[in-house]
C-alpha cells in the first residue's frame, strides 16, 4: 500500500497500452467502442448533447440509473472488465 504521508509519484509504465485518460476521454472512447455513439456524432459540435443521449442509452442497456450524467456508477461500469462485442449495432 502507498507509504502514508509520502507523495506518491505516478509513473507511466512502458508497454502499457494508453496512458491515463480523463473521465470524459474514457467515456467518449467507451461509448464509441460499444456502439452508443458514432464517429460522426463524436465529431459534431453538439458533443455535449449527444454525450448525454448516449450516456442515457448506455445506462439503460446496462441496467444503471439513467441520469445522462458521467456519475460515479457510470464511470465504474466503464472501467469494469467486459466482453468486447459492441452493445449496439453490428
Amino acid at each position: 500500500a502507498p507509504l502514508p504521508g509520502k507523495p506518491q509519484a505516478l509513473v507511466t509504465f512502458p508497454g502499457e497500452l494508453g496512458s491515463a485518460l480523463t473521465d470524459r476521454e474514457l467515456a467518449e472512447r467507451y461509448l464509441l467502442r460499444f456502439g452508443y455513439t458514432t464517429e460522426a456524432e463524436a465529431r459534431t459540435g453538439a458533443r455535449h448533447v449527444s454525450l448525454g443521449k448516449a450516456l442515457r442509452r448506455m445506462q439503460r442497456q446496462l441496467g444503471l440509473e439513467e441520469t445522462g450524467q458521467l456519475d460515479a456508477g457510470t464511470l465504474e461500469a466503464m472501467r469494469a472488465p467486459r466482453c468486447g462485442v459492441p452493445d449496439v449495432g453490428t
Binding site: 505516478l10 509513473v11 509504465f13 494508453g18 441496467g63 472488465p81 466482453c83 462485442v85 453490428t90
Partner: protein
C-alpha cells in the same frame, strides 16, 4: 435477451470447435475442460452438440491473442476488454478470441496444475509445509536439478504428496518439439540465450529452443508460465525479481506504488529504474469458463442481454455456482429450440465453477533423475501434454494399475501392440501395459482395458491411434470400435470399411501419414482412409510384394519410433521406411526391456 440482426444462427446442430492455441497461464487440460464445460452450458438446453476437432476448419475457431491479433479488433492489455466473438456464419463468423494479456484462471486465483510426481496431476496446495517451512509458491529446495515443485496437500512433511510445477525445464507448449523441455543455453540468430525469450516474435509469447541451436535445428516450443510469472506489462511471463529497486526504494513484494489504479506490480529485473522491465502480479484472474460460456453464446447467435444476472450481460463478474439464467435459456431456445433435455422449470444446476475431476492424461513416468529427499516416482501417474496442436481426448479417469502383479515380462505374446499418446501399449486378455521410451521408467500396468475403454471385448486383435484426431481404433474378429476419450462409436463390421468377407481378423496397423493407415490381415493389407473410414481402391495387396523378409503370419504389426514392427512368437522383425529389415530380436528383451 437479444439476437443479432437477422437472427443469425447455425443451420446445423452438430457444431465443431478447434482450439488454435493455448494461454500459457493454465495447463492445456484445464483450458480444454473449461471450454468443454462452457459448451455444455448451451448443449444442455438446446439440440446443439459440440465436438472438438484438432485440424482443419471448425465452425468455432478459438484462439488467444494480445493487442491486434489479426481481425482488426485489437484487445487492450490487461483488464478492460477480455474477449470477443463473432455471430454464426462462415470464416471468422462464429470464432471466439480471448485476450492473452489477461490472467486466465478459474476465477479464484492462480491454478498451478502439477505434472509427474505422485499426485496424479493435482493442483499445488498453497501454502504447504516442507522441512518445517511454509511456502506459497513452487520451490526448488530439496532438489539439485532446479525443477520447481510443490506439495499437493497442506504438508509435504506429513503426506509426501507432490508434483512438478509448470516450467520450461519440464515441458513446452505448441511449437514443433512434441512438448520437449527447453535446452539452455541455445543459440538464436547467433546469440546465446539461457532463458525463454520473446525475441523474433511480434505476439509477445515466450519461446525457447529445444536443442542447443535453433539456428541449426529449428526446433522450438513455447514456455509455460511459472507460478511467479507476471501478467502483461512489458515482460509477460517473466518471474518477479525480489528485491527490486523502484524510484530508488527497494521492494521485496509486489507494490501499487507509482500507479493510480492500485494494481499490484513488480519488476522482472533487480532494478526497475535502469531496466524498466515490469509486469502485474497474479491476482484472482478471470474465469476462462465463465468468459468462454459468454463468448460461445455470441458464437451461437446471442447478443448482449440487459439482465444483470444473465450470462450474456456484457460485464464480467465472478460467480461461484454458475447457473444459466432463464433469460439466456429463452434467448438460445428462441434460436434453436429446447432439444431433448428436460424442461428446465427451474434452471438446471449447471456445472459448478469448481472444475470437474479433470480428465487426466495417460500415466507418464516422472523425470528419471530423482535425487533425495524427493520420494522415488513410484507409480507416478501424472499428466503430460501431447504438444502437437492435436490434443488427445484423454480417458476421463486415470488408469489405475488393477493388477500390478501381472507382469508383462511373463507373457509369451500379446494380442495387440500399438503406440497411443507416445507410449507403446501391450494388450493381453483384457489387460494392458504401457511403456514410454521418452521417460525411462519401465513398464507401467497391468491396467484394465474395460476401465480405460469401456465396451471393448477382453481379447482384441489390433489397434491404432489416428495421429490427426487422436482417436483410437480397435479391432476384434470382424468388428471395430472407434474411441474418442471414453466415448465410443461401434462396434461396427469391418465391411463398413470396405474390407471384404474374405478377410479374417485384423492383425496390425501401420500409420502412413496424411490420414492413411495400412491394415494387415492374413497375407494381405488394405489402405484405410481414416477420415472417410473407407479403404482405398486397388486393395487388398499382397504383403509380400512390399514388405519382403517379414513373417506373413505376423501376430502383431505396429509402427514404433518410425519403423515397422512385425511380431511372431517371441521374435520381432523391424523394417525401415525403405522396407529393409534392419533388426530381428526378442520382443521381451529388446522392446519390453525385460531383465
Amino acid at each position: 435477451f437479444l439476437t443479432f440482426e437477422g437472427d443469425l444462427k447455425w443451420e446445423h446442430t452438430d457444431l465443431t470447435y478447434r482450439v488454435i492455441n493455448y494461454s500459457p497461464d493454465l495447463d492445456r487440460a484445464v483450458i480444454n475442460d473449461a471450454f468443454k464445460r462452457a459448451f455444455k452450458v448451451w448443449s444442455d438446453v438446446t439440440p446443439l452438440t459440440f465436438t472438438q476437432i484438432y485440424s482443419g476448419e471448425a465452425d468455432i475457431m478459438i484462439m488467444f491473442g494480445s493487442g491486434e491479433h489479426g481481425d482488426g479488433y485489437p484487445f487492450d492489455g490487461k483488464d478492460g476488454l477480455l474477449a470477443h466473438a463473432f455471430p454464426p456464419g462462415r470464416g471468422i463468423q462464429g470464432d471466439a478470441h480471448f485476450d492473452d494479456d489477461e490472467f486466465w484462471t478459474l476465477g479464484t486465483g492462480l491454478v498451478v496444475k502439477t505434472r509427474y510426481g505422485n499426485a496424479n496431476g493435482a493442483d499445488c496446495h498453497f501454502p504447504f509445509i516442507f522441512e518445517g517451512r511454509s511456502y506459497s509458491r513452487c520451490i526448488t529446495e530439496g532438489r539439485t536439478d532446479g525443477l520447481p515443485w510443490c506439495a499437493t496437500t497442506a504438508s509435504y512433511d506429513r503426506d509426501k504428496k507432490y508434483g512438478f510445477c509448470p516450467s520450461e525445464l519440464l515441458y513446452t507448449n505448441g511449437g514443433n518439439s512434441d512438448g520437449s523441455p527447453c535446452v539452455f543455453p541455445f543459440v538464436f540468430e547467433g546469440t546465446s540465450y539461457d532463458a525463454c525469450t520473446t525475441d523474433g516474435r511480434s505476439d509477445g509469447y515466450r519461446w525457447c529452443a529445444t536443442t542447443a541451436s535453433f539456428d541449426q535445428d529449428k526446433k522450438y516450443g513455447f514456455c509455460p508460465n511459472r507460478d511467479t510469472a507476471v501478467i502483461g506489462g512489458n515482460s509477460q511471463g517473466d518471474p518477479c525479481v525480489f528485491p527490486f529497486t523502484f524510484l530508488g526504494e527497494s521492494y521485496s513484494t509486489c507494490t501499487s506504488q507509482g500507479r493510480q489504479d492500485g494494481k499490484l506490480w513488480c519488476a522482472t529485473t533487480s532494478n526497475y529504474d535502469t531496466d524498466k522491465k515490469w509486469g502485474f502480479c497474479p491476482d484472482r484472474g478471470y474465469s476462462i469458463f465463465l468468459v468462454a460460456a459468454h463468448e460461445f453464446g455470441h458464437s451461437l447467435g446471442l447478443d448482449h442481454s440487459t439482465v444483470r444476472e444473465a450470462l450474456m450481460y456484457p460485464m464480467y463478474s465472478y460467480v461461484q455456482d454458475f447457473q444459466l439464467h432463464p433469460d439466456d435459456v429463452r434467448g438460445i431456445q428462441y434460436l434453436y429450440g429446447r432439444g431433448s433435455g428436460p424442461a428446465p422449470t427451474a434452471p438446471v444446476p449447471a456445472p459448478t465453477e469448481e472444475p470437474q475431476p479433470l480428465p487426466t492424461e495417460e500415466p507418464q513416468p516422472a523425470p528419471t533423475e530423482e535425487p533425495q529427499p524427493m520420494p522415488t516416482e513410484a507409480g507416478s501417474a501424472s499428466t503430460t501434454e501431447e504438444e502437437e496442436e492435436e490434443e488427445t481426448p484423454e480417458p476421463t479417469s486415470e488408469p489405475v494399475p488393477v493388477d500390478p502383479s501381472r507382469d508383462a515380462c511373463a507373457e509369451k505374446n500379446f494380442d495387440a501392440i500399438t503406440e497411443i499418446n507416445g507410449e507403446l501399449h501391450f494388450f493381453k486378455d483384457g489387460k494392458y501395459w504401457t511403456l514410454s521410451s521418452f521417460w525411462k521408467s519401465g513398464i507401467q500396468g497391468a491396467f484394465s482395458v474395460a476401465d480405460t475403454w469401456p465396451g471393448l471385448p477382453p481379447v482384441i486383435d489390433a489397434a491404432f491411434q489416428d495421429v490427426l484426431t487422436k482417436r483410437v481404433f480397435f479391432f476384434a474378429g470382424r468388428q471395430f470400435w472407434v474411441f474418442s476419450g471414453k466415448s465410443v462409436l461401434g462396434p461396427r463390421g469391418i465391411e463398413k470399411l470396405g474390407i471384404g468377407k474374405d478377410a479374417g481378423r485384423i492383425t496390425g496397423a501401420l500409420q502412413r501419414g496424411r490420414g492413411k493407415v495400412l491394415l494387415f490381415s492374413g497375407e494381405s493389407y488394405w489402405r484405410l482412409d481414416v477420415k472417410v473410414q473407407r479403404v482405398d481402391k486397388g486393395y487388398p495387396r499382397a504383403t509380400d510384394d512390399v514388405f519382403t523378409g517379414v513373417p506373413l503370419d505376423a501376430r502383431n504389426v505396429f509402427l514404433y519410433q518410425d519403423k515397422y514392427h512385425f511380431c511372431r512368437g517371441s521374435f520381432y522383425w523391424r523394417m525401415t521406411p525403405r522396407y529393409q529389415v534392419d533388426r530381428v530380436g526378442y520382443v521381451k528383451y529388446d522392446i519390453l526391456q525385460c531383465p
